[in-house]
C-alpha cells in the first residue's frame, strides 16, 4: 500500500462518515419513494387480500417466493464468501470483507420479509413457533433463517468492534454527539490489547467457520422445500448443490456491483482496485461455468429420458417462457463466462457488466424454477380463467419487489454512513504487516 499512514487512512474514511453529502441525498429520497410505493402496495394486499397479487390456485407461489429465494441466496453466498475470506485470511479480505458482510446481513433481513408477504394469514405467524412440525421443510427453513440471521449479526458486529474502537478514540471526529456515544458503547471497551485482540480473533475465526457451514446447510434446506416434493421439475436430487452454486453466483455478482458503486461514489479507487475486481471476476467465471454445468445437467437429463411430465414441463418452458429461458440459462451463464474468460475484457466496467447480467439471469432462473412447474401439474389444469392457467405478476408484486431492492440499497447507504465501508482496523493491520515484511526484507539484504 502506498500511503502507509494510519492517520491518513483514518482521515479518508472519517470523511465519509462526517460528510453528510458523501452519500447522495437524492438517491436516498428516491429509494424512500420506491419504498413508499411498496408500502402502499402492502396495505392494498392487507386490505383486499391476496387477490391483488397474480397468484391463483395453480401457481400459488410467485414473485414473492422468487425474491425470497434470490435474496436469501445472495445472503448465504455472502456468508459463505465472507466466512472463507476470514477463515483463510485471504489477502484481499480487507477491501471487500465488510461490503460482503453487510450484503449478507441486509439480504437476510429483506429476504424473509418477502416470504411473510406470501403468507395468507400473517396474524397467525406465531403458530410457526407454538405448533411447529419438524417434519416440514418450512419449519427447517424458519429455524435455519433465524439461526443464520443471529449468527450473521453477531459476526458482523464482531468485525465492527475494532473499527468502533478506532472511531471512539478519534478525537477529531466531527459527528453528532449521539453517534460518538454509540461508538463508545458499541466498542465495548476494546482497547486493542494483545489479549483482547487474541480473543476477538479467535471467536471471529470460529464464527467464520460456522458461518460457512450454516450457509451451506441453510440454503440446502431452502432448496429442499422444492426438491422434497413430488412435482415435476422440482423433485431433483441435485437441487441443493444447484441452489448453492446458483446462490453463490448471484451473490458474487451482487458483491461486484456493490464494489463498483461504492468505489465510484465514495471515491475509494485507491482501496478497491482492479485486482479485486479481477479476483472477483475469476470467481464469477468459475461460478458461471459451474452454474451452466448444473443447469445443463438438470435439463439435459430430463430431456433425454423424456418422461411425460418432464416433457410437459419442457414444453411449457420453451413455449411460454422461451426468451426468459434463453436469457436466464444461456445468456446469464455464457456472457459473463465469455467476458471473464478473455483477459482483454477484464476491465472494471466489463466485469461489472458481466455481474449485472449474471444477477438478472439468476433472478430469471429462479422464476423459471418456481413458476413453470406449478403451471404443469400432473393432472392437467382444465380451467377457463386465464389467471388460473398462466401466472402474471401484478403491480402490487412488482412494487413490493422494487421496494425490497430499494430498502436494501437504502439500508446499505445508511449503514455506510455510520460505519466505515472498508474495515479501517484491517487496513491498519495490513499496513503494519507490510511494514514488517519490508523491514525483514531490508534486514536480510
Amino acid at each position: 500500500m502506498a500511503d502507509s499512514n494510519p492517520i491518513k487512512i483514518n482521515k479518508e474514511f472519517v470523511r465519509i462518515l462526517e460528510d453528510k453529502k458523501s452519500v447522495s441525498r437524492g438517491w436516498m429520497w428516491f429509494f424512500g419513494l420506491v419504498i413508499l410505493v411498496g408500502l402502499v402496495a402492502f396495505v392494498m394486499q392487507v386490505v383486499y387480500g391476496h387477490e391483488v397479487t397474480g397468484m391463483r390456485d395453480n401457481v400459488v407461489w410467485g414473485v414473492y417466493i422468487i425474491n425470497f429465494i434470490f435474496f436469501v441466496g445472495v445472503s448465504y453466498s455472502g456468508a459463505f464468501i465472507s466466512g472463507i475470506l476470514h477463515f483463510f485470511d485471504t489477502p484481499w479480505k480487507s477491501a471487500v470483507a465488510r461490503i460482503v458482510e453487510i450484503i449478507t446481513v441486509l439480504s437476510l433481513v429483506i429476504g424473509p420479509i418477502f416470504i411473510l408477504l406470501c403468507i395468507g394469514r400473517l396474524d397467525r405467524l406465531h403458530y410457526l413457533f407454538i405448533y411447529p412440525r419438524i417434519q416440514s421443510p418450512i419449519t427447517w427453513d424458519v429455524i435455519a433463517i433465524i439461526t443464520d440471521l443471529v449468527g450473521c449479526f453477531i459476526y458482523l458486529y464482531l468485525t465492527f468492534i475494532p473499527d468502533f474502537a478506532i472511531l471512539r478514540d478519534n478525537e477529531d471526529l466531527n459527528v453528532a454527539p449521539w453517534r460518538k456515544k454509540m461508538y463508545r458503547f458499541l466498542a465495548i471497551n476494546y482497547k486493542d490489547t494483545p489479549e483482547q485482540k487474541a480473543t476477538l480473533k479467535k471467536i471471529t475465526r470460529t464464527m467464520s467457520a460456522m458461518i460457512i457451514a450454516m450457509a451451506i446447510v441453510a440454503y440446502t434446506v431452502l432448496a429442499w422445500i422444492f426438491s422434497l416434493t413430488l412435482q415435476p421439475g422440482w423433485n431433483s436430487t441435485i437441487f441443493a448443490p444447484y441452489f448453492i452454486i446458483a446462490g453463490l453466483y448471484s451473490g458474487v455478482g451482487v458483491i461486484i456491483i456493490c464494489m463498483f458503486l461504492i468505489r465510484k461514489y465514495l471515491r475509494l479507487e485507491h482501496y478497491i482496485r482492479k485486482v479485486h475486481f479481477v479476483g472477483a471476476g475469476i470467481i464469477l467465471l468459475i461460478l458461471a461455468l459451474l452454474f451452466g454445468y448444473f443447469t445443463f445437467s438438470e435439463y439435459f437429463a430430463r430431456w433425454f429420458s423424456h418422461k411425460t411430465n418432464d416433457i410437459n414441463l419442457l414444453d411449457t418452458l420453451f413455449d411460454d417462457y422461451f426468451w426468459q429461458f434463453i436469457f436466464a440459462n444461456y445468456i446469464g451463464g455464457l456472457v459473463p463466462a465469455i467476458i471473464l474468460f478473455f483477459k482483454r475484457f477484464r476491465t472494471i466496467n466489463f466485469i461489472t457488466f458481466a455481474a449485472v447480467i449474471a444477477v438478472l439471469g439468476l433472478w430469471l432462473n429462479r422464476y423459471l424454477i418456481v413458476v413453470p412447474t406449478l403451471e404443469t401439474p400432473y393432472l392437467p389444469i382444465q380451467d377457463t380463467r386465464p389467471e388460473f392457467i398462466h401466472y402474471t405478476a401484478t403491480w402490487v408484486e412488482w412494487a413490493l419487489s422494487f421496494a425490497g431492492i430499494a430498502a436494501f440499497c437504502l439500508m446499505f447507504m445508511l449503514l455506510i454512513r455510520f460505519v466505515p465501508v472498508i474495515p479501517v482496523s484491517e487496513l491498519h493491520e495490513d499496513m503494519t504487516n507490510a511494514k514488517k515484511k519490508a523491514q525483514i526484507k531490508a534486514n536480510k539484504k
Partner: protein
C-alpha cells in the same frame, strides 16, 4: 346387480329409507326418519334452481318458496376443531369411482358446492376429461381429494393445520392454517384450493366452524374435499355420492369391506377385484384412498357429457379428442 328397479318401486322406496340407514341401531323414531329423508336427494327430486329455495305447495294449493333443508344439520353435535382431529372410531373410509358410468352430469360437483356453501368456480370435486394418450379413449374423471395414506400435504404443513385422522380422512383446521400454501404445491393431484380474498360468506357466523364441514370458510386459508364427515356421522353418504344419477361414486368403510353408491351395496374387495380397481398415479407412493374402476364397457358415448355450460366445455379444449370433435363439428 340391482340397477334395474322399476321407477315406481324406486319412488315408493324413496321415502321409507329405514332399510338403508341401518348402521345406527333400530331407532324408528319419526324424527330420525324424516331427518334421513330430507338429506336423500334423488335424480327426480324437485328442481331447486336458486340453490337455497325449494318450491312447495301449501295445503291450500298455493305455491310458495321455502328454504331448503339447512346446509349443516349438525349444529347440535358440532365437532370443534380440537375434537375433529380424532376420527370416527373404527372406520377406514374409502371411495370407489366407476369411470365406466360417469357421463359428466356434474351433479356431484353441484351437490358438493351446495353442501359446503361454495361459489361457482370453487370445486372440491372436479370432473376432468382425461385422455391418456393420442390413441386412448378419453374418459370423464371425477376427482375429489384422495385422502392418501401417506399424504405429502400433511408432511409439509409447518403448523399441523392439516392432518390425517384414524378414519383415513385428511382434514384442514382453518383456525390453525397460516396460508403458506406449501400443501397446495405439494399435492400431486391438485386437490387443494386457496381462499385468495375476502368473501361475504366468511362473515356468516351462524354455523359454528368445524373442520368437518368447512363452513364458514376463512380468508387466507386452504380448503378441499373432506369426505363429508358430518354426513357420515349421521349415517349418510357424502353429497357427491348421494347425488350422482348414475351411481358412479361408491363410498364405504374398508374395515367392514362394504361400499355403497346409494342403490347398490357391494363388498369393497370384491368390487376392486372384479372390476380391476386401481389408484391414480400409484407410482408416486402417496397411497390414495380413492380407487377407480376402469372406463371399459362404457354405457354411452362421450359426447353425451358435453351437454353443459359453454364455460365448462371450454375447459376441455386441450384434450385431443375434443379438438377432433370440434373439427368434425360435433360440438
Amino acid at each position: 346387480m340391482k340397477n334395474s328397479k322399476s321407477k315406481k318401486e324406486h319412488d315408493r322406496r324413496k321415502f321409507l329409507q329405514l332399510g338403508l340407514m341401518s348402521g345406527v341401531t333400530a331407532i324408528a323414531g319419526g324424527a330420525l326418519m324424516s331427518g334421513m329423508n330430507e338429506n336423500q336427494s334423488e335424480p327426480e327430486a324437485p328442481a331447486t334452481d336458486s340453490g337455497e329455495k325449494v318450491r312447495v305447495l301449501t295445503p291450500d294449493g298455493k305455491m310458495v318458496e321455502v328454504d331448503a333443508s339447512s346446509l349443516n344439520k349438525y349444529p347440535e353435535a358440532h365437532i370443534p376443531p380440537a375434537e375433529a382431529r380424532k376420527g370416527i372410531p373404527n372406520r377406514k373410509f374409502v371411495m370407489v369411482i366407476d369411470l365406466a358410468k360417469c357421463k359428466n352430469a356434474r351433479k356431484c360437483v353441484e351437490a358438493c358446492q351446495k353442501g359446503h356453501n361454495l361459489d361457482y368456480h370453487e370445486e372440491f370435486m372436479k370432473v376432468q376429461l382425461i385422455q391418456d394418450n393420442e390413441q386412448a379413449s378419453p374418459y370423464w374423471f371425477p376427482k375429489p381429494c384422495f385422502h392418501c395414506e401417506e399424504p405429502p400435504c400433511v408432511t409439509v404443513c409447518p403448523t399441523g393445520a392439516t392432518y390425517k385422522r384414524e378414519d383415513n380422512i385428511v382434514l384442514i383446521d382453518n383456525e390453525r392454517c397460516i396460508g403458506c400454501k406449501f400443501c397446495i404445491t405439494s399435492c400431486p393431484y391438485s386437490a387443494r384450493q386457496f381462499n385468495w380474498g375476502h368473501k361475504d360468506k366468511f362473515d356468516d357466523k351462524e354455523t359454528p366452524y368445524s373442520p368437518e364441514t368447512q363452513v364458514p370458510a376463512a380468508e387466507g386459508t386452504v380448503m378441499k374435499c373432506d369426505f363429508c364427515p358430518d354426513l357420515l356421522r349421521q349415517g349418510e353418504l357424502p353429497y357427491c355420492a348421494k347425488s350422482c344419477p348414475m351411481g358412479v361414486i361408491y363410498f364405504g368403510d374398508m374395515n367392514e369391506d362394504i361400499v355403497t353408491n346409494g342403490e347398490e351395496t357391494v363388498r369393497f374387495s370384491q368390487l376392486i377385484n372384479d372390476r380391476g380397481g386401481y389408484r391414480h398415479l400409484e407410482h408416486l407412493g402417496t397411497k390414495p384412498n380413492v380407487y377407480y374402476l376402469p372406463a371399459v364397457n362404457r354405457q354411452f358415448p362421450l359426447e353425451r357429457g358435453f351437454d353443459i355450460d359453454e364455460e365448462v366445455k371450454e375447459r376441455y379444449k386441450d384434450v385431443p379428442y375434443v379438438q377432433e370433435l370440434k373439427k368434425k363439428g360435433k360440438i
